[in-house]
Amino acid sequence: MEALVSVAIGILCGSGLWLLLRPRTFQVIVGLALLSYAVNLFIFCMGRLVIGRAPIIGTDGVADPAAFADPVPQALVLTAIVIGFATTALLLVVLLAARGLTGTDHVDGRESG
């Protein structure tokens, strides 16, 4: 499993980076989204892969951190997901406005010569 998840993170990151370096605004937005999947997964993985043990304390009230997944990276990633959506929206609107103003969807606001 570890190898599978690592490869998936690598592929998500690589695809995202490739798009990030492209000249069209839509490519950059999609690239950022892919990159944020990779980064969120990576940070989440700091707590290692734990299957079937969500960090929810049972009714007995016994809280043994070894018995469930690490809650700290999960809490970090949760807000990152929502903020990621907000910034994607902001970026999209800025790029749309730039397209309206400059007439091109090139990231620099003009076609490269």
Binding site: M1, E2, S6, I51, G100
Partner: protein, 960 residues
């Protein structure tokens, strides 16, 4: 009153008054003047009340802890010197306020003037009373700032803005040097406390840092006191209203520099370096200022250069390393303040009543305004050093010191000779100032018919001139006690013997005074009869001037900055991103290569074949999205969703149900968002893309591919190395142990979000809210590209098929293809709302929470829009997303502040348990209110953004 309280009040009152003055109505000149005047008088009275204690050798102190970790405390202390200056600043403040009340015209906004004047007074008193050097620098900068605001008072004038900027740049630059010097001083002395620094004089002078710190402190003091070569800002500062010039630029603020030199005299003075630097700057300013004053056209210009010259005289005295010279310096600080402020006020009156300050146009005003003329003449005589006036006594003390200061033949003869020469100039420009303006035939073509101003405008000057006379005739009885008190507090044990009398007999200094007087009169007469009138330029053509250097420096700084930006930066995004990625790779790779990326020791998790399926889908979708994003945007978007779904499944698989829920919900809104954006992008078709085949494009693509593969591979290797290492307990135990007993929740992730790291979450929802408002604001000014304005083809076809063109508000269902889905989503809305609230409420104990609840609700709302169309939906319900956002922030902040009511810190959680009939036991926690706030913000922000974007379709073609 307790003396420490009185001290605090002296500094506090002006600042409080400044705040009050700022809020008075703009034409309330009388109220402003009463306020400012009473505050100045109150400070004077407080200072006078403390006289007894200070005269008895006591030093009232006031201390407050400021930054105890850095060894800093806020400290005010009043010794004799500080007492004298406090009196000077507050008394002069009161007089200037009276004058300013009648000087300002009804059109001038009075609140701004008096607020900054009072702020300046407070800062200046703060400098004078500071018992801590760092605190002194803070007040020092505050005076620079208020001076800037006051010079730029008439900011519609170019010269006011330029003068203010120059004054601020020079004095604030000097203040920065001073701070550096003070920190060195404090480090050597082991404390920033003034008393301990003053006691550490020997250690400081012997320290190897002494030359550097002396230069830095002098840079601060000399810039502030407008000493050569930093004098050039003062004449430009004359663009300020005249009361400001009288108060700041002659009597008080420019004295801050020499005040500091006198204050630190016991620590820094007594070395050859001090003598050379301070005397050098002082002598140059004395001569240069006096000579330049002779050539000014503007009355205020004469006074500005003369101020430079007199401050030079004080600096020169301070540099002489002799206690007697220090006495003379302190004495002259007082004398100069009295006669120079009077002269500024007279210049202001002339300007006010005659309409010009040009010396070439003014003449014979004594006939029209005899009282002003008398006051100005006496003050100018004091400036020239005529006997029986205060200027004479301090100037003679200066001549006496000049004779004995130097060692070696050149200095022994040169210094007295140059001092006499400066005296000659000073007499000549004083005479010219008075004679040109007030004597001779009355000028005819003045802008206004000159007449005497109101009595209140004359009063301050009259009082000051009276002081000049009294001090000049009975020096020992008037100023004697205060002066000796001030000097004693600087010098301590080694008080010199001096006598303050008018007549010392026929001594060498008297001879020098006489030469100066006679020489000055001759010089003026010679210039007058030979018609050499003012040219406005300084007589000395120096190879460089401070002004020119300053301008060149500013220009050079701009140019260098531009050049560096051009060299180091690019306006193109791709190279920037490329460099950032390469840099990140290098920084990440270096430590890893050193430590190795080998497999760790943790036992591997067995591969589950079921996971392989989403895994394959996710990886394929990611690569597919990367390939298709340019020419098949919709396909890329769908595949992006596939990759997101894989991410959500991975979260769910590896025990993160909260993340999985949130990710799925976010996936939906992201997809809607990007779909809404698609319409405004230009068509791009693969076949007619020209730049795919060029060689350059191909190399760039190859390069980017390599980088993407390398970085992706590196991150994969890093993840693998990390995942195969044993788990680190880290903070997990802390949160797991406390989640239930202290947070009262079973879902640890949610407890962390709303409780332990609640402040963080509060910040994050604030960011989301701000982003939503920004998106909304940006879209209000959105202009689509011309070719995107037309309706998309699909929509046109749908309209043609259904035959429905116009929107019908009465229709019970939206017409067209979507009629049946519209019924379904209307049924969906209450159910989705229920699910959302269910997720929200159970979040504390089971997967869910405000974030995911809010997203589900927002999706339900946005579905209505998608299916029914924006107009149809909004005809029926007003969602007002802004209210949701505002209410949410209020709820979250209110939940945090509730804790204050119970005496706990912000966002501390608390809960109630109680039983309700039928419902059973209810457990209410403040964090629930917080989570409701999160929910409301997320609903509001998400729908605000999406709806705003959707509304762009209604833009009519004129928007293009």
């Amino acid at each position: 009153m307790e003396s420490s309280l009185a001290l605090a009040l002296i500094v506090l009152l002006p600042f409080a008054g400044s705040l009050a003055a700022a809020f008075l109505p703009s034409n309330a000149r009388n109220a402003e003047a009463w306020l400012a005047g009473l505050i100045a008088l109150a400070c004077t009275a407080l200072a006078l009340a403390l006289y007894g204690q200070v005269a008895a050798g006591g030093v009232p102190r006031f201390t407050l802890p400021w930054l105890p970790q850095a060894g800093l405390e806020f400290k005010l202390r009043m010794d004799g010197f500080a007492w004298l200056f406090t009196l000077l600043v507050s008394l002069m403040g009161a007089l200037v306020v009276i004058y300013a009340r009648y000087y300002l015209s009804p059109q001038d906004p009075a609140p701004r003037f008096f607020a900054f004047l009072l702020a300046f007074m407070g800062s200046m008193l703060g400098i004078v009373l500071s018992g801590n050097l760092v605190q002194l620098v803070v007040f020092w900068e505050l005076t620079s700032f208020s001076s800037f605001m006051l010079i730029a008072y008439w900011y519609h004038r170019v010269e006011a803005r330029q003068g203010a900027r120059m004054a601020l740049t020079v004095t604030a630059g000097g203040g920065f040097c001073l701070l550096a010097g003070v920190i060195m001083l404090g480090t050597i002395a082991g404390s920033y406390d003034l008393e301990r620094v003053l006691a550490a004089g020997d250690a400081v002078r012997a320290h190897p840092w002494y030359p550097a710190l002396l230069v830095l402190v002098l840079l601060g003091a000399l810039t502030k006191s407008a000493q050569f070569p930093f004098h050039f800002w003062l004449p430009h500062a004359m663009a300020a209203p005249t009361p400001v010039s009288a108060y700041l630029h002659s009597a008080t603020m420019v004295k801050a520099g020499v005040f500091l030199l006198a204050r630190l005299w016991p620590v820094l003075a007594g070395t050859d370096l001090w003598f050379a630097l301070v005397c050098g700057a002082g002598l140059a300013s004395l001569l240069f200022g006096a000579a330049a004053a002779l050539y000014q056209r503007d009355m205020k210009g004469v006074l500005a250069y003369s101020t430079i010259s007199h401050l030079g005289l004080i600096t020169l005295l301070l540099g002489m390393n002799s206690p007697l010279a220090l006495v003379a310096a302190v004495f002259h600080m007082l004398n100069h303040a009295t006669f120079k402020a009077t002269l500024f006020m007279a210049a202001g009156i002339v300007d006010h009543e005659a309409g010009t300050r040009d010396l070439r146009r003014l003449n014979g005003l004594a006939r029209a305004m005899p009282i002003t003329a008398t006051i100005a003449t006496v003050a100018a005589a004091a400036m020239a050093g005529v006997p029986l006036l205060n200027g004479f006594i301090s100037k003679e003390m200066f001549f006496a010191e000049a004779i004995f200061a130097g060692e070696g033949r050149p200095l022994r003869i040169g210094l007295p000779a140059l001092a006499t020469l400066a005296g000659v100039f000073s007499v000549a420009y004083s005479l010219r100032f008075v004679h040109q303006v007030f004597f001779g035939p009355l000028a005819r073509d003045l802008p206004r018919a000159p007449h005497e101003p109101t009595r209140w405008m004359l009063l301050p000057g009259a009082l000051l001139v009276l002081a000049c006379l009294l001090v000049g005739i009975f020096p020992a009885r008037t100023v004697g006690p205060g002066l000796s008190l001030a000097v004693a507090s600087i010098l301590g044990e080694d008080m010199p013997r001096y006598s303050l009398v008018v007549w010392h007999g026929f001594t060498l200094p008297f001879l020098m005074s006489a030469i100066a007087l006679v020489g000055g009169v001759c010089l003026y007469l010679q210039r007058y009869f030979h018609g050499q009138q003012a040219t406005g330029n300084a007589p000395l053509r120096l190879p460089f001037s401070g002004r020119r250097l300053f301008d060149m420096l500013i220009v050079a700084m701009h140019r260098t900055a531009e050049r560096m930006v051009r060299f180091a930066s690019s306006r193109r995004l791709q190279p920037q991103l490329f460099l950032i990625v390469c840099m990140a790779l290098a920084v990440g790779a270096l430590p890893l290569l050193a430590r190795g990326l080998a497999r760790g020791a943790a036992p591997p998790t067995p591969v589950d074949p079921v996971y392989l399926l989403p895994w394959l889908m996710g990886c394929a979708c990611a690569v597919g999205a990367a390939v298709q994003a340019k020419f098949h945007r919709l396909a890329a978007l769908i595949m992006l969703g596939g990759a997101g779904l894989f991410t959500a499944l991975s979260f769910a698989w590896f025990s993160a149900p909260d993340l999985a829920l949130t990710q799925v919900a976010v996936e939906v809104v992201t997809l809607v968002l990007l779909l809404l954006g698609l319409r405004w992008l230009p068509r791009r078709i693969e076949l007619d893309d020209p730049d795919r085949r060029t060689r350059r494009a191909r190399t760039r693509r190859a390069r980017d591919l390599v980088i993407a593969i390398v970085v992706g591979g590196a991150l994969a290797a890093l993840s693998y190395a990390m995942l195969t290492r044993p788990r680190v307990a880290g903070l997990a135990r802390f949160f797991a142990d406390r989640a239930l007993p202290e947070g009262g929740g079973h879902n640890v992730v949610n407890v962390i979000l709303v409780d332990f790291r609640g402040f963080d979450t509060f910040g994050e929802i604030t960011v989301v809210a701000i982003v939503a408002l920004t998106v909304y604001a940006l879209l209000r000014r959105f202009r689509p590209a011309p070719e995107s304005v037309e309706l998309p083809r699909a929509q046109k076809e749908a309209i043609e098929l259904s035959g429905v063109r116009a929107f019908d508000p009465q229709a019970r269902l939206p017409a067209g293809d979507l009629m049946i889905p519209a019924v379904l989503v209307r049924l969906l809305l209450p159910m989705a709302g229920l699910v959302a609230i269910y997720l929200l409420l159970r979040g504390h104990d089971a997967p869910g929470g405000g974030f995911v609840g809010g997203l589900v609700m927002a999706i339900a709302l946005i579905t209505q829009y998608m299916v029914g169309g924006a107009m149809w939906v909004e005809w029926r319900m007003r969602v007002h997303p802004q209210y949701w956002v505002a209410l949410g922030l209020l709820a979250a902040g209110g939940a945090g502040m509730l804790a204050w009511a119970l005496g706990r810190p912000f966002l501390a959680s608390f809960d109630w348990h109680f039983a309700l009939p039928l419902v059973g036991e209810v457990h209410l926690a403040s964090v629930l209110l917080f989570d409701i706030g999160v929910y409301l913000v997320v609903v509001g922000a998400t729908s605000l953004m999406l709806v705003a974007l959707a509304h762009q379709s209604f833009r009519s073609p004129r928007g293009a």
